[in-house]
């Protein structure tokens, strides 16, 4: 079938994808947008017992411009919503969003005048973690899920080609 058969799997773009994705998925620089109770569990995941560093994602960057992953940890209310949107907009591509805990995912059991019913009403989300708050194992699982997702992406996406 022409040239492709000679090149096999070694065609240039796919190889670049793999190399880039491999590098990306083990070096998440996260921006913890910590608001509420889930932050306590987030602290536990950082510390030595659960050790998020094993996944190469331990390093927080407190400037959104330097971060790849936005962790929205906890309830977001109407007053805070513009700030969250602004933080997201400031992040450079490629960027991913993890919605941490049920409040960020759907508003949880706070269904009233003050709360936003899930951050996906404001910004796009890649991985949702249920739980109130999620246990550390769930958080690590979400991180692995995100790594899987990242490993399937292509660099062409960010060039507007795909």
């Amino acid at each position: 079938m022409g040239l492709e058969t000679i090149f096999g799997n070694s065609f240039l773009t796919s190889r670049v994808d793999e190399a880039v994705n491999w590098a990306r998925k083990y070096s998440f620089f996260q921006y913890p947008f910590v608001t509420a109770c889930c932050g306590m569990e987030f602290m536990s995941v950082w510390a030595s017992t659960y050790d998020i560093a094993r996944f190469g994602a331990e390093f927080p960057r407190f400037s959104p411009r330097q971060a790849d992953v936005l962790f929205v940890v906890g309830t977001v209310n109407e007053k805070l919503a513009p700030s969250l949107k602004r933080v997201y907009d400031q992040m450079a591509e490629p960027k991913w969003v993890v919605s941490f805990g049920v409040c960020a995912t759907s508003g949880g059991f706070y269904d009233n005048y003050a709360t936003v019913q899930g951050i996906d009403k404001i910004i796009p989300v890649d991985v949702y973690i249920p739980g109130c708050p999620p246990r550390p194992q769930a958080i690590l699982d979400a991180l692995i899920k995100l790594q899987e997702k990242v490993s399937k992406e292509t660099v062409l996406k960010y060039k507007g080609l795909k």
């Binding site: 007053k79 513009p82 009233n112 003050a114």
Partner: protein, 160 residues
């Protein structure tokens, strides 16, 4: 003499009622005498600690159809005598205002801002009465009984 007795004696004409529930004293008085009572409590009876300040909306409360709609509630504590006392001041819906205690307790500042934010009670003499928990654009006062539980007022548009 117990603090409550001296308070009742001093303000006998202003006190509307004195309820005792589960060992706790609640004194309901006219709102004009709030400041005098607070000063008397603090300076004479050693209630130096404003434990809490809040408000209650009694709209639709069974048995209070003709009573004033709001009531501000003050919980005092004395570090010296270790006593607690609670004062309540009914406020009509038509004139939702009461004196501010900011000159007497520094803590009253934020407490009163919260009550203003949640109930729309105006504190006369408050130096900086503006919303504290909700945002400036918010219309209405969420803890009033006639504010619907789920009436949201988003600051930025939500997508579905």
């Amino acid at each position: 003499m117990k603090a409550i007795e001296s308070l009742k004696e001093k303000f006998s004409d202003k006190i509307i009622s004195h309820d005792s529930f589960a060992g706790q004293d609640f004194i309901t008085a006219k709102k004009e005498c709030l400041k005098d009572m607070a000063v008397f409590l603090r300076d004479e009876l050693h209630f130096d600690f404003l434990s809490d300040l809040t408000c209650v909306d009694y709209k639709g409360y069974p048995g209070r159809e003709n009573a004033p709609r709001f009531e501000t509630v003050y919980h005092f504590y004395s570090h010296k005598t270790k006593e607690r006392i609670s004062l309540k001041f009914p406020i009509e819906e038509t004139s939702p205002n009461i004196d501010s205690l900011t000159g007497l307790w520094l803590a009253a500042n934020w407490y009163e801002r919260e009550v203003y934010d949640m109930y729309g009670i105006h504190f006369t003499g408050h130096p900086d009465l503006r919303r504290i928990l909700m945002y400036e654009e918010f219309k209405g006062h969420p803890l009033r009984k006639d504010y619907p539980l789920k009436a949201r007022q988003p600051r930025i548009p939500h997508e579905d």
